[in-house]
């Protein structure tokens, strides 16, 4: 394959144009990465608040009473699987397969929506039982931390829906590919944050009994 191409046939301009376009895309994606890292700092502060306040239950129920570990595990697995299927969507997009990309984004959306549904059901159960954010410092910090994550998931779901429509309309080209890469970074990032919510809020909460 390494046969020399006569210099006349090498379109230097075309090569340079490709490189320039890729560099521009990389800068945009890097900028988005920097945003994600500042978001990490936001979550870091919320984790600090939660850890400081976790024992301030003010006579109300603590994590060991409220949280159900199997329930949290199902939430975790659905989000983790959606992160994987989002990766499969990126792979399909790299292969320029529009159908498969749309299919995997739909799967990702459904798994993400399942996760959000489970989370909101849990919130509803707590609030209906009189354990809303008014109850104690522990619950305030719990709702702030997990709620902020849920808000990100909601935005991610909207983004996935819009992206899917965009792919259906425009197909897979340089522009959609760039956006797909940023969306996948966002979605994987939310799963990374959830690792720590699962460990620190739910698993550590069970040990505090």
């Amino acid at each position: 394959m390494s046969d020399l191409v006569p210099s006349a046939q090498v379109d230097v301009k075309e090569v340079n144009r490709l490189i320039e376009r890729n560099d521009e895309d990389n800068t945009t994606i890097f900028g988005f990465w920097v945003y994600l890292m500042t978001d990490c700092v936001l979550f870091g502060s919320l984790f600090a608040v939660f850890t400081v306040l976790r024992n301030n239950t003010f006579g109300g129920p603590g994590g060991a009473v409220l949280f159900s570990l199997p329930y949290a595990l199902i939430e975790t697995l659905s989000l983790l699987t959606s992160s994987f299927t989002c990766g499969l969507a990126v792979l399909s997009a790299q292969r320029k397969s529009k159908k498969q990309t749309v299919f995997w984004f739909v799967v990702t959306f459904l798994l993400g929506a399942t996760f959000l549904g489970l989370e909101l059901t849990e919130f509803h159960k707590f609030i209906a039982g009189g354990n809303s954010w008014h109850r104690s410092g522990f619950l305030s910090s719990y709702f702030a931390l997990v709620g902020t994550h849920g808000l990100h998931i909601t935005i991610g779901l909207i983004w996935i829906a819009v992206m899917t429509g965009f792919i259906l309309k425009r197909g897979i080209n340089g522009l959609t590919m760039k956006r797909i890469r940023m969306l996948s970074l966002f979605w994987h990032f939310l799963d990374v944050v959830w690792i720590f919510i699962f460990t620190i809020v739910y698993l550590f909460g069970a040990l505090h009994a």
């Binding site: 394959m1 390494s2 046969d3 020399l4 191409v5 210099s7 090498v10 230097v12 090569v15 490709l18 490189i19 890729n22 560099d23 895309d25 990389n26 994606i29 890097f30 990465w33 920097v34 890292m37 500042t38 990490c40 700092v41 870091g44 502060s45 984790f47 600090a48 608040v49 850890t51 400081v52 570990l69 595990l73 975790t76 697995l77 983790l80 699987t81 992160s83 994987f84 990766g87 499969l88 990126v90 792979l91 790299q94 890469r181 970074l185 994987h188 990032f189 799963d191 990374v192 690792i195 720590f196 699962f198 460990t199 620190i200 698993l203 550590f204 069970a206 040990l207």
Partner: protein, 131 residues
């Protein structure tokens, strides 16, 4: 430019491309994340081992999974130099470490040194009322 071969051009262009994801990476990331999640869950569910040890183990498992997902899902550390993505990521970790570590350090010391016990507080309030 006369020494350009079709292979050279591919390499040249690919060096300027965002990191290409591969199926192998995603499968490795997914399977090891599931294994790590399940082992953390089972450890916590059955309260295996002492409490101190368990906290340590769960924290280590979470950090391993964090690194796994960072490498295999978010492709950190797979770019060509200058490795700006890696640098920004490490800087984020430093900032988070300072915020979280610093907050916990200060707050636990405050609780320890300043916060009176309930009994002391009641005594103090009674004394204030009597004045």
């Amino acid at each position: 430019m006369s020494s350009l071969t079709s292979e050279n051009i591919d390499i040249l262009v690919s060096q300027h491309q965002p990191e290409n994801a591969t199926l192998k990476n995603y499968v490795i990331g997914f399977v090891s994340s599931i294994v790590l999640t399940m082992s953390a869950y089972l450890l916590a569910y059955y309260h295996a081992g002492g409490r101190g040890l368990l906290f340590g183990l769960l924290a280590v498992l979470a950090l391993i999974q964090f690194s796994v997902q960072l490498i295999f899902f978010l492709h950190v550390g797979k770019e060509f130099s200058p490795r700006l993505k890696l640098i920004v990521t490490l800087f984020m970790m430093l900032v988070v470490l300072i915020i979280v570590g610093g907050s916990l350090w200060i707050m636990y010391n405050l609780n320890h040194r300043v916060m009176p016990s309930t009994k002391q507080m009641v005594q103090y309030m009674n004394r204030e009322d009597n004045l």
